[in-house]
């Protein structure tokens, strides 16, 4: 006895999708991508459930798993965000090799065992589903498996309470008042007034050029923290300053010329190469 050709075609196509989804789940660098791959695989599995006569489970798979559980995953991914844990670089020595060896060994053993079981004949669910799949399941759940059902209900409640207990944070001390917070700030000695503006030299008016302190040294505080961390601070102290002095010395020539704008623009573009020319 075999299944229909249509189901076979569907299996081979969707099985490939399912395996690809599974591999994607494992190999994707970002958790969101993994979650999406997993969702794909789950939907394929839902289709397989439906194809095999497990209509109720197929629907539950889509609604509960793909719908609710995966959404929960995505929420947690959002909460946690991108971390160093997303790196695919292995840190434990021998872990990859051990994984491959045990994984292949386990899989080969499992599949070999299945192959040796000679499961050529199958009964099919025609008779079992004759009264309707949902009704059949319901009859079993509320008779034979009623105790297991009750206990899983208790388990779910326990899990829900457990999740609340785990994530709940109790405030153990009084919230600080605004005055206390202000005093705290003053006491910690951070910069209270606004930071000084960059590019205090009008001729080099740009956010990536630090302002100069009275002794001529640049002040890091004047540049945006993001630019600082990216290393995109343009330092015009030192050699560029001599260039500026030359410019000032030649101010008369400059004032005599008719076309001051062009030189201004090249200086404003501001690369040190340009300044050196």
């Amino acid at each position: 006895m075999t299944t229909s050709t249509g189901e076979a075609v569907q299996f081979w196509v969707l099985a490939i999708v399912a395996v690809l989804g599974a591999l994607g789940t494992v190999t994707m660098r970002k958790a969101v991508h993994s979650a999406l791959c997993l969702a794909g695989t789950m939907i394929v599995l839902a289709v397989f459930y439906l194809a095999q006569g497990a209509y109720f489970l197929g629907i539950v798979q889509i609604v509960v798993y793909t719908g609710a559980v995966m959404m929960l995953f995505l929420f947690v991914v959002m909460l946690v965000g991108i971390t160093a844990a997303d790196s695919l670089k292995e840190t434990i020595r021998g872990q990859r090799v051990a994984t491959v060896v045990t994984g292949v060994g386990f899989g080969v053993l499992l599949i070999a065992g299945l192959a040796n079981a000679h499961l050529s004949a199958f009964t099919g669910l025609g008779a079992a589903n004759s009264g309707g799949n949902v009704e059949g399941l319901a009859a079993l759940i509320f008779t034979k498996y009623v105790w297991a059902f009750e206990i899983t209900g208790a388990l779910l409640i326990t899990a829900a309470i457990g999740a609340m207990v785990l994530t709940h944070r109790e405030r153990t001390e009084r919230a600080a008042t605004q005055r206390e917070m202000a005093e705290q700030r003053v006491r910690s000695g951070v910069q209270l007034p606004p930071l000084p503006a960059p590019g205090v030299y009008a001729r080099h008016n740009a956010v990536d050029i630090p302002g100069l302190l009275p002794d001529g040294t640049p002040s890091e505080l004047t540049v945006n923290a993001t630019l600082r961390s990216r290393g995109q601070v343009r330092d015009l102290s030192g050699e560029p300053l001599t260039r500026v002095r030359e410019l000032e010395d030649g101010a008369d020539d400059y004032l005599d010329q008719d076309r001051p704008v062009r030189r201004d623009t090249s200086a404003a573009n501001g690369s040190s190469e340009g300044a050196a020319q």
């Binding site: 434990i92 872990q95 051990a98 994984t99 045990t102 060994g105 386990f106 053993l109 065992g113 040796n116």
Partner: protein
């Protein structure tokens, strides 16, 4: 009967308990209590003896069962008594001589602060010795055997403030242990072989046992006897045991305890009769010891040590006789009894001399004492004549019989043993004459003692002389009395058995030969010590003399072979312990530690590493399941 025997053993035991537990308040009457209880015991012994005499010869053995101690499966340790002619003889000897020595000790120990304790120990000894000879099984005999060993230890070391006494006590105890181990193993073998400890079942079943077993038991019993009776090779303790008070030497180390080995061999006669090898071993040990002790006795200047050598030698005679089997048992015991009289008498005489000479023991510092202490001289002289076997006195009757029995063993062995015994008789005459001459005759060689007191020899008090006189009577007449109508032979025969033997020499020939040898020995001694003045400082002497002064180098032998060997063995064992045992233990520990240190790295704290082992385990489970299903 039960009660009488119980009282016989119990009286001195009670005395020991009262005296040792009673404390100082008994100091003033302690010696009387001890002596009284010993006398009570003797009186009971005499009563039992009279009762036994009134019975027919065949019905004289009395066995009683008091109680069973720890019955476990087939193991039954009974406490019971056996009173037969052999035990009776010993009971009379022990309590009789014991009582006399108690009386003697009253005078001898008069100035000792710990006299009460001394009498307590003496009573303890009597009780243990009586238990030894009255036991009806080997286990109870062993209790008595150890009891006399303990009493001997306590009494040798009685003057424990003297290091030499303490050492001698330890030496006696330790050497005796060697023999006791033999006895305990022999008893275990007896039980595994015969499934019983009691004498009668064991002796009844001897015929069914294998020869090898019996020989082993016999040799182990001989080892025990060697330890207790100071026979070669376990003889070394007896000379040092003379550190104890003289009454102790007389009672324990001359008359009674040291003869326990002879008793053991005679009592176990059925076993020895069944093993010719064991019998021959007993004979050889006896013959070697009788010559050994005699030679040592010739060289010692310490009067007590000379007598100790003599004791060794005389017990050698007894062992020789006991080893001859039924031919000799009776004479072994007969000589034992007469020896008990004259040797005790000699020791008491020696004690009396020491008493008068500021406790001096060196015979070279005696001389010419016969006029100063006549009673001691006469009793000592009678003991002397008895021990050398002067015709008519006790020793003559008994020693001749042993020499005769040795010849009667027949064949080459008989001749060798007989000639050795004969030579021993000559040497005995030599050394005893030497003791006699050096002590009572010749020049006065008295010297002041360490405190500078000049000795004033005087006769000892009545409490000391009376026992000596009584013992002298025994020395003179006991042998003749025993030999009259062969009365002792008929008395003891039902217990030990007797066979005539086929002596190649007649009794007359042996007697004449013995007398000739004795005259020669005594004459040689007179030649050396009677005619010439005795030097006050011992001359260097020949190699043999020097060796004999050192107890024929036995202590050196023990030191080199046993002590050094033991030290080497110990060192080797310690080394082995350190390298092998400790190595194995420490190696195991280090191995476990090393493996753990490496395995610990598996516990790296990473969940994913643990997950790998989980998956591996799951794979193994799948594999196991598949294998179990027979794929």
């Amino acid at each position: 009967m039960d009660h009488l025997i119980g009282a016989l053993v119990g009286a001195p035991l009670l005395g020991a308990a009262v005296l040792l537990l009673g404390g100082r308040r008994l100091d003033r009457i302690g010696h009387w209590v001890g002596t009284l209880l010993a006398a009570v015991s003797f009186a009971l012994g005499v009563a039992l003896f009279a009762d036994m005499l009134s019975k027919d010869t065949g019905r004289r053995t009395f066995t009683s069962h008091l109680f069973t101690w720890v019955p476990v499966d087939s193991f039954r340790a009974d406490v019971g008594f056996q009173l037969d002619q052999l035990s009776m003889t010993f009971v009379l000897l022990i309590t009789g001589v014991g009582t006399l020595i108690h009386i003697y000790s009253i005078g001898y120990m008069a100035h000792d602060e710990r006299r009460r304790r001394f009498f307590g120990y003496l009573n303890l000894f009597l009780a243990a010795m009586l238990l030894l000879v009255l036991a009806n099984n080997y286990l109870l005999l062993y209790v008595g055997w150890e009891g006399v060993g303990l009493a001997s230890y306590l009494l040798i070391g009685f003057w424990q403030h003297k290091p030499s006494a303490a050492t001698a006590a330890k030496k006696a105890f330790i050497v005796n242990r060697v023999g006791d181990v033999g006895l305990s193993i022999a008893i275990m073998l007896l039980f595994t072989t015969f499934n019983s400890f009691s004498f009668s079942p064991v002796f009844g079943a001897v015929r069914d046992a294998s020869g090898g077993r019996l020989t082993a038991i016999g040799l182990l019993l001989l080892l025990a006897a060697c330890g207790k009776s100071a026979q070669v090779p376990l003889q070394s303790w007896l000379g040092d045991a003379m550190e104890g008070p003289t009454p102790v030497s007389a009672l324990i180390h001359a008359a009674t305890m040291v003869t326990a080995g002879v008793y053991l061999v005679t009592r176990s006669g059925a076993i020895f009769n069944a093993s010719a090898t064991a019998q021959l071993a007993v004979c050889v040990v006896g013959a070697v010891t009788l010559i050994f002790g005699a030679i040592v006795g010739c060289a010692k200047d310490d009067i007590k040590k000379a007598l100790a050598g003599s004791t060794m030698s005389q017990i050698g005679y007894m062992m020789l006789a006991a080893g001859l089997g039924p031919v000799g048992y009776v004479f072994a015991i007969m000589h034992l009894v007469t020896h008990g009289f004259f040797k005790a008498g000699l020791f008491l005489g020696a004690g009396s001399v020491m008493h008068g000479m500021n406790d001096e023991v060196d015979m070279r510092k005696f001389g010419g004492l016969r006029g100063y202490m006549p009673v001691t001289f006469i009793t000592f002289g009678l003991g002397y004549l008895a021990i050398i076997g002067f015709p008519g006195l006790s020793g003559f009757w008994t020693k001749d019989k042993i020499i005769e029995a040795a010849f009667a063993k027949g064949g080459g062995e008989g001749w060798v043993l007989g000639v050795v015994a004969l030579i021993g008789a000559g040497v005995t005459a030599f050394y005893m004459t030497r003791v006699m001459l050096m002590t009572f005759f010749g020049e006065k060689r008295w010297q002041p003692d360490a405190q500078g007191h000049q000795p004033h020899p005087h006769e000892s008090p009545k409490s000391m002389t009376v026992p000596m006189i009584i013992l002298a009577f025994g020395s003179v007449f006991a042998g003749g009395l025993f030999s009259l109508n062969s009365s002792f032979l008929h008395w003891l025969e039902p217990v030990t058995g007797y066979s005539e033997g086929h002596s190649p020499l007649t009794a007359w020939q042996v007697s004449v030969a013995t007398f000739v040898v004795l005259v020669v020995g005594a004459g040689l001694a007179w030649q050396q010590y009677g005619r010439k003045p005795v030097p006050a400082v011992a001359p260097r002497g020949s190699v043999l003399t020097r060796a004999a002064r050192r107890d024929l180098l036995q202590d050196d032998f023990n030191h080199v072979v046993l002590v050094r060997g033991g030290e080497h063995l110990t060192r080797t064992l310690v080394h082995l312990d350190h390298s092998l045992v400790d190595g194995a233990v420490n190696g195991t520990a280090a191995g476990v530690g090393g493996v753990s240190a490496r395995l610990r790295k598996v516990q790296n704290g990473f969940v994913r590493s643990y997950a790998v082992s989980m998956l591996g385990g799951a794979a193994v489970l799948v594999a196991a399941t598949l294998l179990m299903r027979g794929i």
